[in-house]
């Protein structure tokens, strides 16, 4: 076996598909940014000094779920160094969903919560003070009267009847796909028939853990008045225009008045797409006229910064004695936490990925986006895929063990090849799974049969394997009613009043509260920042919606 930290480029494999005679491509050129990195001069967001910089820190919920009866900021207001205290009333548009810029899903998450909190750590007020230490002290002096509510933390508990409702707009604690089902379906062929035909039916349950992205630089932003009525914002975002668009929407400020600068970021791994810091830092600047920094400390990064959400997968395979997998059935639960952020979208990506890199003629998946009272989940390296791959590949090992087959050969036997029909009903191309398996087996001294050694991604696919099954079993399981794509999400539109609909009264009240939240008492009152009125968002937008809440 070859050992050690070597890297080799197997130019011999797929050589006929490449022209390797290029000038700059393929060269081990040094990084453009490397001199800045080794001299400590690369400008990260916090490496911009401002005279009179203020610091923003949030007051957070100590409860998994609670109603906010009253926020008393009077003592905090008198603390040394405190310049301003923000609550939800100060945020021009205090309800957002991260993918709303893509027209994906309903606004469900307050910037600063005013009525209810749905996870431990949810922000309800923000202190802006001369120093970070003063901001911390003032945060501790804010008095919030809580009415603790029942909570639910497990995905399968959350979808049982009678479980506490996390978000009123999703009464069963499940995201609604296409206005039609409480989960995303994938159907190819007939798995039940495959189970009847199989020599072995092999089941498993897999739990992917929540993971913190843990970039060494925590998430944050610094905003400052620029000139001519504009604001500059230095940010650690992974997506400059995502953050700019979110700030523009939340602050009801045209993008032309915002100048975002970033691009040199101390690691992200998915944890810096949520655009949490930019809107509040800019709002703080608008209201104080001074530069404001809002950044998480490490504890916040770990506990209120959104992690990769947990996933639970149930797998059931129909397997023949010779190793062929005839059918694979999935039930998946993504733990979205208290709000949607990116989880609904992660599931569509995960479903498109099933059943893994294998050609399996019968596939069935029901995957649920479930709301629980925990920190909302977001992207992380491997978004929507890592947990599914963990389940699939641990299960493949179980299959190999059950039928007594070499685990590498089981993969090669079932691997997808160029021209095969995939479960999402598109033909495979540019495949290379078999070659990766062969190279590893060779290096690691795993003996493969001559047939497996000779297998190729470019040979043996297509033909009969390119055909859709003659019959696909479909069903109406999980059908919801009362959701209609074309009018549900439009601002101001009322959801249809259909018989058998989920409790629409809750929807209406939530929608109403979104535009005009009933104010809990808090003092002192804070005026809305200066600026032009909110631009009207109407008509068709950039991106249609998988949620079905499509603006046509």
């Amino acid at each position: 076996m070859i050992r050690g930290n070597m890297v080799e480029f197997r130019k011999d494999i797929f050589a006929d598909e490449r022209d390797d005679n290029l000038n700059e491509i393929g060269k081990p050129t040094r990084r453009q940014d490397i001199t800045g990195h080794v001299t400590g001069r690369s400008p990260f967001f916090d490496d911009h000094l401002f005279e009179g910089l203020l610091h923003l820190r949030c007051v957070r919920s100590p409860h998994h779920a609670a109603r906010i009866r009253r926020i008393d900021t009077s003592a905090a207001q008198r603390m040394p160094g405190v310049m301003r205290i923000l609550t939800g009333q100060d945020v021009p548009v205090n309800l957002n969903t991260l993918l709303s810029l893509l027209d994906f899903g309903i606004d469900d998450e307050p910037i600063l919560s005013t009525e209810r909190v749905r996870y431990k750590g949810e922000p309800v007020a923000a202190i802006i003070a001369e120093t970070e230490a003063q901001a911390r002290d003032a945060v501790a002096a804010v008095r919030v009267e809580w009415e603790v509510l029942p909570h639910v933390l497990d995905v399968e508990e959350a979808i049982k009847p009678g479980a506490p409702t996390v978000l009123d707009i999703y009464p069963g604690n499940k995201f609604v796909y296409h206005g039609k089902y409480d989960h995303q379906k994938l159907r190819l062929g007939d798995v039940e028939a495959a189970f009847r035909e199989a020599d072995h039916v092999i089941e498993g349950r897999y739990q992917m853990s929540p993971i913190e992205q843990a970039p060494i630089e925590t998430c944050g932003a610094i905003a400052a008045p620029e000139q001519n009525g504009r604001y500059v914002c230095y940010t650690s975002t992974q997506a400059l225009f995502f953050s700019l668009g979110t700030a523009s929407k939340v602050l009801a400020t045209p993008s032309s008045r915002l100048h975002f600068i970033g691009g040199t970021v101390g690691g992200g791994f998915g944890g810096k797409v949520d655009s949490i810091h930019e809107p509040l830092a800019i709002l703080g600047t608008m209201l104080t006229g001074r530069p404001v920094k809002y950044a998480w400390d490490r504890e916040e990064e770990m506990q209120v910064g959104a992690p990769r959400g947990a996933e639970r997968w149930y797998l059931k395979d129909a397997v023949m004695n010779d190793g062929r997998i005839l059918g694979r059935k999935f039930t998946g639960y993504f733990d979205s936490g208290a709000y949607t952020r990116l989880s609904s979208y992660a599931i569509i990506k995960g479903v498109g990925h099933l059943p893994g890199p294998y050609t399996i003629p019968n596939v069935h998946a029901d995957v649920y986006c479930v709301y629980t009272n925990r920190t909302p989940a977001t992207a992380m390296r491997g978004f929507g895929i890592t947990g599914a791959d963990f389940a699939i590949e641990a299960h493949m090992d179980k299959v190999a063990d059950t039928i007594g087959m070499n685990p590498v050969e089981l993969r090669i036997l079932n691997a997808y090849r160029d021209g095969d029909m995939k479960a999402h009903r598109r033909l495979a191309k540019n495949c290379a799974l078999i070659e990766c398996c062969q190279v590893v087996a060779e290096k690691a001294g795993v003996k493969l049969s001559p047939e497996m050694q000779a297998a190729s991604s470019r040979v043996g696919g297509g033909g009969a394997r390119a055909h859709l099954p003659a019959f696909t079993a479909t069903d109406e399981h999980g059908r919801v009613s009362g959701y209609k794509a074309t009018n549900y999400a439009r601002k101001g539109a009322k959801p249809p009043d259909l018989p058998g609909a989920p409790p629409m009264a809750q929807h209406v009240s939530h929608q109403a509260s979104a535009s005009a939240p009933p104010a809990p008492q808090h003092s002192p009152a804070t005026p809305v920042p200066p600026g032009p009125p909110a631009p009207k968002r109407a008509g068709p937008i950039r991106f249609s919606s998988l949620s079905g809440f499509r603006r046509r």
Binding site: I34, H37, T39, I216, E217, D297
Partner: protein
């Protein structure tokens, strides 16, 4: 808020600046003095991104009170290069692709410099020990270890 004047040496030059009460050295160096090379990664003394040398001993600037450097010599990554000439460690980090996001790099280089100053010919195990207080989330550490060994074993010269 009370301010306290601090006089010290930073990367060989005399400096004087005001520290606020209870201000840590990291915040003081960055905001009051303007040396932005030490980074905030945790403020808890667990990541090493703020590593600086005080009187030639590596320390975590987030855990040191600014006023404690009065009259002492502080060295940071910003002072590793001698004018335009880079420290061999900086050259080796560039050559070995030992940085990705670059956020831990300054602290890592200071820890490595402190190690080599104290022990110019460390073993691989001693290099690992020397940087074990510095976290990197990108590289998997191997290129960093290799870069330091390149300098220790004379494969990279300034």
């Amino acid at each position: 808020m009370t301010f306290k004047p601090i006089s010290f040496t930073l990367n060989g030059s005399s400096k004087a600046a005001f520290a606020t009460e209870g201000q840590n050295l990291l915040d003081f160096l960055r905001r009051a003095v303007g040396d932005l090379s030490p980074k905030y990664g945790c403020g808890q003394g667990t990541c090493g991104a703020c590593t600086v040398m005080i009187d030639n001993v590596p320390q975590l600037a987030c855990l040191v009170l600014a006023e404690s450097v009065e009259g002492r010599a502080v060295n940071t990554a910003a002072g590793l290069a001698n004018g335009p000439r880079l420290d061999p460690l900086q050259e080796a980090f560039m050559e070995r692709f030992a940085a990705q996001c670059g956020y831990c790099t300054a602290g890592m280089l200071v820890a490595a410099r402190a190690l080599l100053d104290a022990n110019p010919r460390p073993s691989r195990e001693e290099v690992i020990e020397g940087i074990s207080g510095n976290l990197c989330r990108c590289t998997g550490y191997e290129p960093i270890i290799d870069a330091i060994l390149d300098v220790a074993e004379g494969r990279v010269q300034a």
